[in-house]
């Protein structure tokens, strides 16, 4: 029977890629394990190996094709004894992966759409360009490293491998061994080394492959980086950035899917940023590198590959401690950070049909929290929904609730509602994982609740 060779996924979050090159041609005999093609994503190039023996009967996707969805049949393999007539009878039974999750369809509400253009506080620039979040982070580091030779980047696989998630791609080529440093897998050690280097006058950017692994290093972050300015009576600070992907990726289960926003935001002496789009990523990271305090930059793997518009200007930065109104509205305020901003925008767009005008605030910085912007919005809309990917208990939403009690109690026409991840370790099963994470539909439902509305 003819066997379909499918476009493979290189990583848990890959939904599509480029078929770079065919190594085998039609008519070639292959054994299992033979390399038959090369595929590329913005993160990596990988070889596709044959899983079965046979003869390449037909190549369905030509070399150079871009945007090939995972699970698309890319070739047909004839088993021993089959002839090419079998190819004509072949009917594909495999459906290519639909742009899998809400996040993959989220670009509908991002840069190309006017609703996401920065509103209110951001100034306008003469030129704009489109970059992925990954490229924006890279550009921030590259520009700052060119500006100040005391900035170094260190972490696992940041140099020769070009970054586990390809954020640092090309930086080692440009800045070399001295400034872009591959560390051993030794989080507590290299986090502490970074702190010492900062005490010694450098500005280290410490990349954690994911923030999950920073738990190994949290003593150095909290006790050594965050508290030293205070403990030294202001004599000595720790100018350092700890950054890496935070929160849930896709199907990587409990130990690799955790949001640390409230952990770090709890600590006096730290600043905590959580960029959503490319403008946030570049602008906030540049400000973080220039800041004399230790800054935690919580990135999101699911956003790395998403493209957004941002100012095409080397002087562009985004201020720390300032939220950004992504979409103005009058009936309800939705406040979110990181990937959940995309979900909030999607929900806001859908709510238009129900006659609800939602204002979406991208918090951008979790500490210091821009409470004023949220309060101002609540004074206008009188209703509030806070969205976070993480667990509810003692979370960012809980903090916002407390802040609203203190600063906006008289302006609320309904109790604030939190949308958050399920209060369980992240499950692996696809259906359970989806249930554990906030979806745009959850935000829509929460908005209906605070607006005392029923589903249309």
């Amino acid at each position: 029977m003819t066997i379909e060779i499918l476009m493979p996924a290189l990583s848990p979050t890959m939904t599509e890629g480029t078929l770079a090159r065919w190594v085998k041609n039609e008519g070639d005999k292959v054994c299992s394990g033979d390399v038959i093609a090369e595929i590329e994503t913005d993160k990596a190039t990988m070889e596709v190996e044959a899983a079965d023996e046979g003869v390449i009967g037909k190549i369905l996707i030509p070399a150079g094709s871009q945007g090939v969805a995972v699970n698309t049949p890319i070739a047909l393999l004839l088993e021993e004894g089959e002839d090419s007539a079998a190819l004509d009878q072949h009917q594909s039974k495999t459906a290519p992966m639909a742009p899998a999750t809400e996040s993959a369809s989220a670009p509908a509400v991002v840069s190309s759409s006017p609703v996401s253009a920065p509103v209110a506080d951001d100034k306008t620039y003469a030129h704009y360009k489109t970059l992925t979040v990954r490229e924006a982070l890279r550009e921030a580091m590259g520009e700052e490293m060119r500006r100040d030779e005391n900035i170094v980047l260190l972490g696992e696989e940041v140099a020769e491998y070009n970054g586990a998630y390809k954020v640092s791609q090309g930086l080692w080529d440009e800045f070399g061994d001295k400034r872009v440093i591959d560390t051993p897998i030794t989080e507590m050690g290299f986090a502490g080394l970074g702190v010492g280097a900062a005490f010694g006058g450098l500005t280290p950017i410490v990349e954690f492959m994911t923030m999950n692994f920073a738990m190994q290093a949290i003593d150095q972050i909290v006790n050594s980086a965050a508290k030293t300015r205070y403990m030294s009576g202001g004599q000595m600070g720790c100018p350092i950035v700890f950054r890496g992907p935070n929160g849930a990726a896709a199907r990587v289960a409990a130990q690799h899917s955790q949001c640390y926003a409230s952990w770090y935001a709890h600590i006096p002496g730290l600043k905590v940023i959580a960029p959503y789009d490319s403008a946030d990523a570049k602008g906030l990271l540049k400000s973080a590198i220039r800041d004399p305090n230790p800054v935690i930059c919580l990135e999101h793997e699911m956003l790395y590959g998403q493209s957004f518009e941002l100012p095409d200007d080397e002087d562009f930065t985004a201020p720390l401690g300032k939220a950004r109104i992504m979409r103005e509205g009058s009936d309800v305020t939705i406040v979110a950070f990181s990937r959940m901003v995309g979900h909030a925008l999607e929900a806001a767009e859908a709510l238009v049909a129900e006659g609800i005008s939602a204002e979406v605030i991208n918090m951008r910085t979790l500490r210091p929290l821009d409470t004023d912007t949220i309060v101002q919005s609540v004074m206008k809309t009188n209703r509030l929904v806070a969205v976070e990917e993480s667990w509810p208990f003692a979370g960012i939403g809980a903090e916002i609730a407390a802040q609203m009690m203190e600063h906006a109690f008289d302006y609320l026409d309904a109790p604030m509602v939190r949308v958050h991840g399920a209060d369980v370790p992240m499950p692996y099963a696809a259906n359970l994982e989806k249930l554990a994470l906030p979806q745009p539909s959850d935000i829509i439902e929460a908005v209906r609740t605070v607006c005392y509305r029923k589903a249309a």
Binding site: P184, G233, G269
Partner: protein
């Protein structure tokens, strides 16, 4: 005995190096001891609170090691840090006022015994988490190398700290990148109340060998031997050959902290160290025997030290507590960016 043979090598190799000024070393050790005795007294009076880890008995270690440093070098240690601070040239008044939690202290009273720093004197703390100063010191060495300033970081840790994983994470990186660092184990025989033989397997001076970090055992009660070993180690680290490890065999006369009655060891054991190996008494006898100083010289030094310590204690009691407005300052730098 393995370590004495090594020490001989150390001494012979450094014969051309600058000799340690023994009178000065005696003075430094005496300052540390009298300072610590005064701190204990103020603690007893309720003027110093919380944790206060005294260095009495271990004076030769920091005195010998830090005498071998150059001005461009840096130092970092654990919470048993008063000796290092005094040896790094920090003002005894500022240190004592920090112990009493006053505005005149090095950290404006916000740090206390375990958290003092002097960027000016290249002293980077004062760290309260066992072993945490070791990666930080390794990072200071990284900065020395990056800036090519010729400096070496001397990183102290206790024998208890050598069982922390981050120490080995640091050894690995320091050896891999040949960082200019000397790791000093102050083996005072007890990790809090647990005797060395009950907490540390093997020979602690050899704990770096697998990383290619050569280790030497040194008589930490003999300031000359400490100095000679440290000088060679520091200069080796400076030369780009990578880190060196020294284990200083020493003893703390007091408990781990002020509230520790130290009942885990016998009086005979303590007396033996005090009577036979006390670094200050031993050196005093040698100074007199070799006629490097007269009784009169030493008496005048004692008088001078007494005054320094008394002045420090007076300052530490007269300096006011920090203004309540200091509660919320120094959390973040608000320097514009």
């Amino acid at each position: 005995m393995k370590f004495s043979a090594r020490l001989k090598t150390v001494e012979s190799q450094t014969s051309a190096a600058p000799a340690l000024d023994l009178v000065r070393a005696w003075r430094e050790m005496l300052l540390i001891r009298r300072f610590e005795e005064k701190a204990a007294q103020l603690y007893g009076m309720g003027l110093i609170g919380g944790f206060c880890h005294l260095y009495i008995g271990e004076e030769a270690v920091t005195t010998g090691v830090l005498s071998a440093m150059r001005p461009e070098d840096s130092c970092i240690t654990s919470y048993r840090d008063h000796g290092q601070m005094l040896m790094m040239g920090m003002d005894p008044k500022g240190v004592m006022a920090e112990l009493t939690g006053r505005i005149g202290g090095y950290s404006k009273g916000k740090g206390g015994s375990m958290h003092m720093f002097s960027v000016e004197k290249h002293f980077y703390g004062g760290h309260g988490i066992v072993g945490a100063q070791v990666p930080i010191g390794t990072g200071l060495a990284f900065a020395h190398r990056y800036k090519n300033d010729g400096g070496v970081c001397v990183t102290f840790m206790g024998d208890g700290a050598t069982n922390q994983g981050q120490v080995y994470e640091s050894f690995n990186m320091a050896a891999l990148w040949k960082l200019p660092i000397v790791y000093i184990i102050e083996n005072n025989q007890y990790a809090m109340g647990t005797a060395r033989k009950r907490h540390a397997a093997g020979d602690q001076s050899q704990r770096g060998e697998a990383y290619g970090i050569h280790g030497h055992k040194v008589d930490g009660q003999n300031v000359s031997q400490v100095y000679a070993a440290a000088l060679e180690a520091i200069e080796q680290a400076r030369s780009g050959k990578g880190p060196v490890l020294l284990e200083m065999d020493t003893y703390r006369y007091r408990g781990h902290g002020m509230s520790d009655p130290a009942k885990y060891r016998t009086k005979e054991e303590v007396d033996q160290w005090k009577d036979q190996r006390d670094p200050i008494e031993t050196l005093r006898a040698r100074l007199l025997k070799d006629k490097l100083a007269s009784e009169e010289n030493l008496k005048s030094i004692e008088k001078e030290i007494k005054k320094i310590v008394t002045d420090a204690a007076t300052f530490a009691q007269e300096s006011p507590e920090p203004d309540p407005s200091e509660l919320y300052t120094d959390v973040l730098s608000d320097a514009s960016i």
